[in-house]
């Protein structure tokens, strides 16, 4: 009896300890929180079974160049970017296998950039190996990666435990976008790329390496086994001569095997991709460049593979949500270039999930804009723009006076992390988010927009 009691206690201790360790692992595990180290693995795992029709596989070139949200909006194609920064050969192969465990895409499009990687960059290796769930395939992938501490990466804990130094809110509260994003990374910055003409038309070839041949063969076998069409792509970037020669060699081999390949670097003028405005940097397209590539791919997929249009089907709600998220990001970006309050308000009106805080200072007579017209566009009385005051439009509803007469404080929880507060300071009202004051008193209309879908504010604007 005594022995049994001891055994139960030991067992119970082991269970409690295991639960605590599991909880700690959940917090410390590497997550993609739309930072610089993007991996769409979490988004893949969140996708219900057998919905993806087109699977794009690649590195940052992929998540910058192919926008599944636009494929959905314009063609109703259910696509997914299985993309991780610096995705090398083992990673792209095993992540494709991982995706095929739950999805049955009709077409798999693989970016050939991985064929130019000969060595794993530690940072890339880190995110490629940590974002896949533990499984025999994860072990195989780590074993094939050019890293020394294989056991550490297989166990993961020895790598991720030191993340206690960098924990953020998203390590405790899951990032919503990771639950429905389709793998794309929105980046709007435009930086001119100095193009070296002629590289894309070079015919010099580096004979395909054994590693690249094995990699291509593995993809061919995998696609055949899963009954998917394999199509290789080379997404636009300012490629080196060495890379081009490798691509030529690989493309020769693909031709031998009857695998089609699109080299977008040879289609820059056809697609009107501009080096001045469509690149974020030498290696990556920005949103606008990606939109051009995506548009071409949408037509190509529809015409060549007859990919079905699933628009409006409830099962694909995830694609709708991801598109909506993207539209908010695009709207926020485009709002920066709007200087007319009416136009700005029209843009706000087109979106849901916004909390708009307006502060009017003065009577608006000194401004060049039609402020009464602008505020009435979003449902406020035009007289608001004629006297000092505050108004809030929360998700399409104009709130009554805040704070109410006799109240000192108004609170609005914008998100788990962000709190809007308005306090009465003598005669004046102070508007703050997380204790930071939003507006300095200025003759004109101040507009603060909090995007609840993005969980972030837009740029504060003052029209005067």
């Amino acid at each position: 009896m005594k022995q049994t009691g001891k055994a139960i206690r030991i067992l119970l201790f082991a269970v409690v300890a295991a639960l605590c360790i599991a909880g700690a692992y959940r917090i410390l595990s590497w997550k993609d929180t739309m930072g610089d180290y993007l991996s769409s693995a979490e988004q893949l795992y969140a996708t219900p079974r057998d919905l993806v029709d087109v699977l794009f596989v690649g590195s940052s070139h992929c998540y910058a160049g192919v926008n599944p949200d636009l494929l959905w909006r314009d063609f109703g194609i259910a696509a997914f970017d299985m993309a991780i920064s610096g995705q090398d050969k083992p990673s792209s192969l095993y992540y494709t296998k991982e995706a095929l465990k739950s999805q049955s895409p009709k077409v798999i499009m693989v970016d050939l950039l991985a064929t130019t990687f000969e060595e794993g960059v530690p940072g890339n290796v880190y995110r490629n190996m940590l974002s896949m769930r533990s499984s025999p395939d994860q072990v195989r992938m780590v074993l094939e990666e050019p890293v020394e501490e294989k056991a550490d990466y297989i166990l993961k804990w020895p790598v991720i435990h030191s993340r206690y130094r960098e924990l953020k809110a998203y390590d405790f509260v899951s990032n919503e976008y990771s639950r429905y994003g389709r793998g794309y990374c929105y980046r709007f910055a435009a930086n001119e790329v100095i193009h070296r003409p002629g590289t894309e038309s070079m015919e010099d070839t580096t004979l395909i390496s054994d590693g690249n041949r094995r990699w291509v063969d593995s993809f061919i076998r995998l696609a055949e086994k899963k009954g998917a069409s394999l199509h290789m792509i080379i997404l636009p970037y300012e490629m080196s001569i060495e890379d081009k020669m490798i691509f030529n060699g690989v493309q020769d081999y693909l031709a031998e095997k009857g695998i089609p390949c699109i080299d977008f670097n040879c289609m820059m003028s056809t697609l009107d991709i501009r080096y001045l405005t469509d690149f974020m940097d030498e290696g990556h397209l920005n949103y606008y460049g990606g939109a051009k590539v995506t548009n071409y791919l949408g037509q190509f997929l529809r015409d060549t593979y007859g990919i079905e249009n699933h628009a409006g089907e409830p099962a694909y709600a995830m694609w709708d949500k991801s598109l909506k998220y993207g539209e908010h990001l695009v709207a926020r970006e485009e709002s920066r270039a709007i200087f007319e309050p009416n136009e700005y308000m029209d843009l706000l009106l087109s979106l849901e999930d916004l909390t708009i805080v307006l502060r009017m200072d003065g009577d608006g007579t000194g401004t060049q804009f039609d402020l009464p017209g602008a505020v009435s566009a979003i449902g406020l009385d035009p007289s608001f723009a004629r006297k000092t005051g505050i108004a809030i439009v929360d998700r399409g509803t104009v709130l009554p006076e805040v704070p109410r007469a006799g109240e000192e404080l108004y609170l609005n929880e914008l998100s788990f992390q962000d709190m809007l507060s308005i306090t009465r300071d003598d005669e004046d009202l102070v508007i703050e988010v997380n204790g930071e004051e939003l507006f300095e008193p200025y003759d004109g209309l101040g507009v603060y927009v909090y995007d609840r879908l993005l969980g972030e504010p837009w740029q504060t604007r003052i029209f005067y």
């Binding site: 201790f13 409690v16 410390l28 020895p158």
Partner: protein, 507 residues
């Protein structure tokens, strides 16, 4: 195979499980195999050395044991006295073992020292040099084996007839590479009774595991973290003033204590899990009230080894004061040299020797002054003052131990006394000694925890397992799970960290 490695995490449970379920007769053999595998995981070739050492000391002690100790007996053939033969065998055993130790550990140092000396008088240097890797733990098992031979020689222990059991005594894996240096009267007897050990004793196993956990905590959470501060300061002392250099010296003092204590604690815990009791190597040394007291608490197994096999044979205390001081100085110098083949270690040992001698010389005058000033020797302030003074002396000596060379130590000490910068205590400079503020705070909390545990041990002479055993279940579990999580999360290991090897492996 380090104690805090994944390999050991697999190795140890496998060894224990098989040990627990194998027939009793096979236990010694199984532990011997496991111990050799453990040792060979560093460098398989060096197993030959430990095997040679084992064979030489085993056969030597057997021989010594067979020759009667009685001085009246005479060998009828040679005419040589029997004690003489016994002594000759003992000397031979010492020569072979110390010869191996000298070759692998001190040969290059000796050549370099000779070259430096003859270079001073213009003679060209000797070119002989062997770039050999120091076999892990060679100083420990050599001393353990030699101690056993002396015990047999003195008639304090019987010579072990079973080579298997003796080989296990020399190579017992928990304490093989960094001690504690066990005495035959303690460990050998336990090995002799290995078949009688109650292997499946849950309470003892849990106690052992708690010790291992505490050792791991000391190593990967405290020692490896505080090591960053010590390494930062000692690597570039010219960047720091008095406060930074003192912090660096204190950091190293804590590092070496936590590191070495960690190893000994894990070793004791691992042995306890298997039913063996190893001696406690550290008894809150930084609570010592004098240098003599410090050496009763620091690396106890080595200190007692030197006391019994070096200091006492030299004459110990039973001689004139001058001779006693000489004996003490020799013992400390040899002890310093044991720690490493460098003059810094010798100087460190010498400094402790000086501390002891000066302390002894000042004892009477200080007592007289104390009496005149009506100092209350029972007051906390008196004891506290003694502890602080002892720690200052010990920390100062550690500078010699840690420095790359005597010149570097001289520079460090010189700068420490000539660059007062008290403002660095207030302007955040101490947060720039290699640890980010967050890491520094983690370290401070962990050191506070260590201080509390040591304080309890100092006041109540009670170790962590015994302390926990008296607490309620929820508290025990909370402490243990907390420790597991702290080791797993805050431990310096894995890709991001390169956990240092236990410092004492190199000695």
């Amino acid at each position: 195979m380090l104690f805090h490695s994944v390999e050991f995490l697999v190795f140890f449970p496998v060894v224990v499980l098989l040990y627990a379920f194998l027939p009793r007769k096979c236990r010694a053999l199984w532990l011997l195999i496991a111990s050799y595998y453990f040792y060979m995981s560093w460098n398989a070739k060096y197993a030959i050395l430990i095997a040679v050492s084992t064979l030489v000391t085993w056969s030597g002690s057997l021989l010594i044991g067979r020759i009667p100790k009685d001085a009246a007996s005479e060998s009828p053939d040679s005419g040589q006295s029997i004690p003489g033969v016994r002594r000759a065998v003992l000397i031979l055993v010492f020569v072979v073992n110390l010869g191996i130790l000298f070759f692998f550990k001190y040969f290059d140092f000796a050549i370099q020292s000779v070259n430096r000396a003859i270079g001073l008088i213009g003679i060209s240097p000797v070119r002989a040099s062997f770039d050999v890797l120091l076999p892990v733990g060679i100083s420990f098992y050599t001393f353990q084996a030699l101690g056993y031979c002396v015990d047999v020689y003195r008639g304090e222990e019987k010579a072990e007839k079973s080579l298997l059991r003796y080989a296990l005594f020399v190579s017992f894996f928990p304490q093989l590479v960094a001690g504690p240096i066990e005495r035959s009267g303690h460990l050998m007897r336990q090995i002799d009774g290995i078949e009688e050990i109650r292997v499946r004793d849950a309470e003892r196993i849990v106690n052992g595991l708690i010790l291992m956990l505490w050792g791991l905590f000391l190593k990967v959470v405290v020692a490896d973290r505080v090591a960053i501060v010590a390494d930062t300061v000692f690597k570039r002392p010219y960047l720091y003033g008095t406060c930074g250099l003192i912090t660096g010296a204190i950091a190293f003092s804590l590092q070496i204590y936590c590191d070495f204590n960690a190893y000994s604690t894990i070793a004791r815990g691992a042995a306890r899990v298997m039913g063996f009791d190893l001696m406690d190597n550290f008894d809150t040394p930084y609570f010592a009230q004098s240098i003599a007291d410090f050496w009763r608490r620091w690396h106890i197994s080595l200190t007692s080894w030197f006391r019994d096999y070096v200091y006492i044979p030299l004459g110990g205390n039973r001689c004139s004061r001058g001779r006693r001081y000489l004996n003490q100085m020799i013992t400390f110098l040899v002890s310093g040299l044991w720690h490493g083949a460098a003059w810094t270690y010798v100087a460190w040992g010498g400094l402790h020797g000086i501390y002891r001698i000066v302390g002894d010389l000042l004892k009477k005058p200080l007592t007289r002054i104390g009496d005149l000033m009506h100092v209350d020797r029972t007051a906390f302030s008196y004891r506290f003052g003694r502890i602080i003074l002892t720690d200052i002396l010990v920390v100062f000596a550690w500078i010699l131990f840690r420095a790359e060379s005597l010149t570097a130590a001289g520079y460090y000490i010189g700068r420490m006394f000539t660059r007062p910068d008290p403002w660095t205590l207030f302007d955040g400079s101490l947060y720039r000694l290699g640890l980010e503020p967050f890491e520094a705070h983690v370290l401070m909390i962990m050191l506070l925890l260590l201080f509390l545990i040591d304080l309890i041990k100092y006041r109540r002479n009670e170790e962590l397992p015994a302390l926990l055993a008296r607490q309620n279940l929820w508290f025990r579990w909370a402490v243990l799970i907390g420790m597991i999580l702290m080791i797993l999360v805050y431990g310096a290991y894995g890709v991001d960290f390169h956990s240092e090897q236990f410092l004492y492996f190199t000695f």
